[in-house]
C-alpha cells in the first residue's frame, strides 16, 4: 500500500510502482485540489511520475532518497512552469 489518502493530502509511501498509478489517479480525480506528500516515498515509477506531471498537484515534503530528491522531483518543475 503506497498511496494513502488522508483528507486533502495524498501520501506516497515507500516504492511507488506501476500499479500505484491507478489509485493515485482515482484520488486526484476525486479531488483535484489535493496535495501530494512525497516525504516518505523511496521510488517513483514513471507511470506515477507522468501522472503527477499531467495533474500538477501541489507537491510537499522532501524525500530522503537522494535520487528521488535530487533527480526525479526537480523534473516535475520543468513541465510545471
Amino acid at each position: 500500500m503506497s498511496v494513502i489518502v488522508t483528507g486533502d493530502v495524498i501520501a506516497l509511501v515507500g516504492a511507488c510502482l506501476v500499479e500505484d498509478a491507478e489509485p493515485l489517479l482515482v484520488a486526484l480525480q476525486a479531488d483535484p485540489t489535493r496535495s501530494v506528500d512525497v516525504a516518505e516515498a523511496t521510488r517513483l515509477h514513471l507511470a506515477v511520475v507522468q501522472l503527477l506531471l499531467a495533474a500538477r498537484p501541489t507537491l510537499t515534503g522532501v524525500p530522503a532518497d537522494p535520487v528521488l530528491r535530487d533527480l526525479v522531483l526537480p523534473l516535475m518543475r520543468h513541465v510545471n512552469r
Binding site: A21, H45, L46, L53, A54, T58, L71, P74, L75, N80
Partner: protein
C-alpha cells in the same frame, strides 16, 4: 609537486582574483550584467577545478554561490550589498583554502564549518521575489539549484556530452518496464527531462497504464557507455554528441585562452640569461671593430655594418624577452586585498582599501619580490598609521580609514605608492625614540632634516609602536623592507604629514635582465656603476673640495655634499687632477659624491651575483663580463657610501 596541483595553484588563484575584481565592479554598479556574467564564469570554473582536490567544503560553497549567481543572471535582479559582501567572504575563504592546500595538501580542519556558515549566509539573503528558482508549483526550494547546475553544465561543459532521447513504447508498462529507472541508470547523468509525447490528456481521461512521455537527458560519459545503458531498448533511443559550447563560456577576458602558453619560469630565466650573454658578446664586436680600424680599415667597415645589424636584432630580441618576462602585478598582489581586510578586522579598524594600476607589467623577478615588502608597508600603515574609529572621529575625520595602493609606470620605472589618511609620522617623536634607543646620538638627531628623520624608521630594529602588536612586531621591521627594495635596485621615498597621513613610494626599474652600467676608472682600475644608482655626474675644480671634519666635501647647488674618493677607498692612489670627476648617488636619503679618475663608456651587461670571496666584500654588487673578456667589478654605491 604534482603537475595538476601546480597548475591549479596558479589558475585557482587567478580565478579568485578575477572573481574578486568582478565583485568590486558589481559593488560599484550592481546592475553590471557583464561583471555578473564574468563572476559566474569564474565561480563556475573554480568549482570545476576544486573538485579535483581535497577541497570538499570549497566545492560545496562554490556550488551554492554558482546557483545563486545563475539565478541572479536569469532573473536580472541586482545583487544586494549584503550578498556581494557574503560572496566576497566566500572568495576570501576559497583563497585561504588554496593557500592551505599548497601548504598542507588539504584544507584546514575548520573548512567545513566555515563553508557551512557561509552557505547559510548565502541562503539567508535569498531575494524573496522574482527569483527564477521559485518553483511555480510550490515545490520545496531545494529543487532550484539542480536546474541551475544543469544549465551551467550545458553552457560550459569542458568535454563532449552525449544527449539521448528515449521514447518508450506506450505499452512498455505492461511488460514491467520502468523507463525512468532505466534513464536514471545512465552513467554520469548530468541532466534529465520528462516531456509529454503529445499534450497531456485531461485527468478525467487519463490512462494510467500507457506511457505518455519521453525522456531526454545529457551524460558526460562516453557514447558507448550511454548506449550500453539502453541495450535492452535500442530501437527506442536516439543519441547525439554535443561539443562543448566554448564560444559562450570563453569569450570574456580570457577569450584568447587557446593562444596563451604557460612556460616554466626557469626556462624563461635561462632564455633571458642567454639573451643577456648575447648582448655582452655584441659589446665585444665594438671592441673588435676598433682593433680592426687600426690594421685594416676596409675590414673594419664591413665589421661595422655587421655590428649595426647585429646590434639592432639583439636589441629587438632583448626587448622581446624583457616583454615576455613582464607580468602584470595583479597576480602576485592578488592576495593583498584579502590580507588587508583580515588585518583591519583584527585591529578593529574600519578601512577602505583601494588598489589601482595592478595591471602594470613589471619583470617577473621584481613582481615576485614585491609582495612581502608591500604587505609589510600596508601592515604598518594599518597598525601604526590609521587610527581607530573613535580617534578618527575625535580628529574630525571619517570613521573609515582610507588606504590606497597605486601602481604606475613612469618612463622606465615602476612607481608603487602606498598612502593612508592616518595619523602620519611625527619626525620629532622619531628623533626622540631613536635617541632613546641609541640608534643615533642626540646631536646627530637634531641635525637631521625632517625628511631624513622619517628615514629613521628604516634603521634596523627601530620600532615606534607603543606596544608591540603581533602584526608589525614580528622582528621584520621596515629595515627589511628597505633592504628588499635596495636588492631590486629600487628606491624608497617616505612622505608624511602629522595628522594627515603618510605616503610610501617605491621606484623600481622596469626590467632587470641586463643592467646599464657606467664604466669609471679609479686608481688605474675600471669599475662598473649601475646607472640607476647614479643621480648625476659632474666635474668640479679640485680646489673647491674642502676638508670637513674627518673627510672632505664640496658645495653643489648650495648644498654640502660629502665626497668619497673611490681610489682611496679601494686601496689605489688618489687622483691629482685639477678637475675632480664626481658621481653623485643617494645613500640613506642623502646625496654622496664619489670621486673617480675618469668616466668611460656606458654598457648593457648581465650583472652576476658576487660569489665566493667577492660576496664578503662590502659595496660589491657583482661582476660583469666585458666584450674583451675582462671581468668588471660592479660597485654598489649606496652600500659603499654608507
Amino acid at each position: 609537486m604534482d603537475e595538476l596541483l601546480t597548475q591549479f595553484l596558479i589558475e585557482g588563484r587567478e580565478l579568485v582574483a578575477e572573481a574578486e575584481a568582478e565583485l568590486g565592479r558589481l559593488s560599484a554598479n550592481p546592475r553590471n550584467a557583464t561583471a555578473l556574467d564574468a563572476l559566474f564564469r569564474a565561480v563556475h570554473t573554480l568549482k570545476g577545478s576544486v573538485g579535483l582536490f581535497a577541497m570538499k567544503p570549497a566545492e560545496a560553497l562554490l556550488h551554492r554561490a554558482e546557483d545563486q549567481l545563475g539565478a541572479a543572471r536569469r532573473n536580472g535582479a541586482p545583487l544586494g550589498r549584503e550578498r556581494i559582501e557574503t560572496l566576497l567572504a566566500c572568495v576570501d575563504a576559497i583563497d585561504r583554502w588554496i593557500d592551505e592546500l599548497e601548504q598542507a595538501g588539504e584544507t584546514g580542519a575548520d573548512a567545513a564549518i566555515i563553508a557551512e556558515r557561509l552557505i547559510a549566509r548565502l541562503d539567508g539573503g535569498q531575494p524573496e521575489s522574482g527569483s527564477g528558482n521559485a518553483p511555480a508549483s510550490g515545490l520545496p526550494d531545494w529543487v532550484g539549484p539542480l536546474s541551475a547546475r544543469a544549465d551551467a553544465l550545458l553552457a560550459a561543459a569542458d568535454q563532449n556530452l552525449v544527449a539521448f532521447r528515449y521514447s518508450p513504447d506506450p505499452d512498455c508498462f505492461f511488460r514491467g518496464d520502468d523507463p525512468l529507472a532505466l534513464a536514471l541508470a545512465v552513467p554520469d547523468l548530468v541532466d534529465l527531462a520528462i516531456l509529454p509525447v503529445d499534450d497531456f490528456a485531461a485527468i478525467g481521461d487519463w490512462d494510467p497504464f500507457r506511457c505518455q512521455v519521453l525522456l531526454e537527458g545529457l551524460s558526460s560519459a562516453p557514447l558507448d557507455a550511454v548506449r550500453a545503458a539502453f541495450r535492452l531498448v535500442p530501437d527506442q533511443v536516439a543519441f547525439a554528441e554535443i561539443a562543448p559550447q566554448r564560444a559562450e563560456t570563453d569569450n570574456a577576458p580570457g577569450g584568447d585562452a587557446s593562444r596563451i602558453v604557460r612556460v616554466d619560469g626557469a626556462r624563461l630565466d635561462s632564455l633571458a640569461d642567454d639573451v643577456s650573454e648575447l648582448v655582452v658578446a655584441t659589446n665585444g664586436l665594438a671592441h673588435a671593430v676598433r682593433r680592426a680600424e687600426q690594421t685594416d680599415p676596409a675590414l673594419a667597415q664591413i665589421l661595422r655594418t655587421l655590428q649595426g645589424d647585429i646590434d639592432r636584432i639583439t636589441g629587438r630580441l632583448h626587448r622581446g624577452v624583457s616583454a615576455i618576462r613582464r607580468v602584470p602585478l595583479a597576480a602576485p598582489l592578488r592576495r593583498l586585498p584579502r590580507l588587508v581586510r583580515e588585518i583591519a578586522r583584527g585591529l578593529d579598524k574600519p578601512v577602505r582599501f583601494t588598489m589601482r594600476g595592478e595591471g602594470t607589467e613589471v619583470d617577473k623577478m621584481i613582481a615576485d619580490a614585491l609582495f612581502e615588502p608591500l604587505l609589510h608597508i600596508l601592515r604598518n600603515a594599518l597598525d601604526h598609521g590609521i587610527e581607530t574609529a573613535p580617534e578618527r572621529q575625535a580628529a574630525g575625520k571619517p570613521a573609515e580609514g582610507s588606504l590606497q595602493l597605486q601602481i604606475g609606470r613612469q618612463s622606465d620605472e615602476v612607481v608603487i605608492s602606498v598612502s593612508d589618511d592616518g595619523a602620519g609620522i611625527d619626525p620629532a617623536r622619531l628623533r626622540a625614540v631613536a635617541v632613546a634607543r641609541d640608534v643615533i646620538d642626540a646631536e646627530a638627531a637634531a641635525a637631521l632634516s625632517d625628511a631624513q628623520a622619517l628615514r629613521l624608521i628604516l634603521a634596523p630594529g627601530f620600532s615606534t609602536a607603543a606596544k608591540v602588536t603581533d602584526l608589525s612586531g614580528r622582528g621584520v621591521g621596515m629595515d627589511a623592507v628597505a633592504r628588499a627594495i635596495e636588492r631590486l635596485r629600487g628606491r624608497l621615498l617616505i612622505e608624511s604629514r602629522v595628522g594627515e597621513g603618510s605616503r610610501f613610494e617605491i621606484r623600481l626599474p622596469l626590467d632587470s635582465i641586463t643592467t646599464r652600467l657606467l664604466i669609471v676608472e679609479a686608481g688605474g682600475e675600471r669599475y662598473g656603476i649601475p646607472l640607476d644608482q647614479i643621480v648625476e655626474t659632474t666635474r668640479v675644480e679640485a680646489e673647491t673640495i674642502l676638508p670637513v671634519g674627518g673627510g672632505r666635501a664640496c658645495v653643489l647647488r648650495d648644498r654640502t655634499v660629502p665626497i668619497i674618493d673611490l681610489a682611496d677607498l679601494l686601496g689605489g692612489e688618489a687622483p691629482q687632477d685639477r678637475i675632480a670627476r664626481l658621481v653623485i648617488t643617494q645613500s640613506g636619503g642623502e646625496s654622496v659624491a664619489i670621486r673617480v679618475d675618469a668616466f668611460d663608456a656606458q654598457i648593457d651587461v648581465l650583472v652576476r651575483e658576487p660569489r665566493g670571496l667577492l660576496d664578503a666584500l662590502p659595496g660589491v654588487a657583482g661582476t660583469a663580463l666585458l666584450g674583451d673578456g675582462a671581468v668588471l667589478l660592479v660597485l654598489d654605491l649606496p652600500e659603499l657610501a654608507a
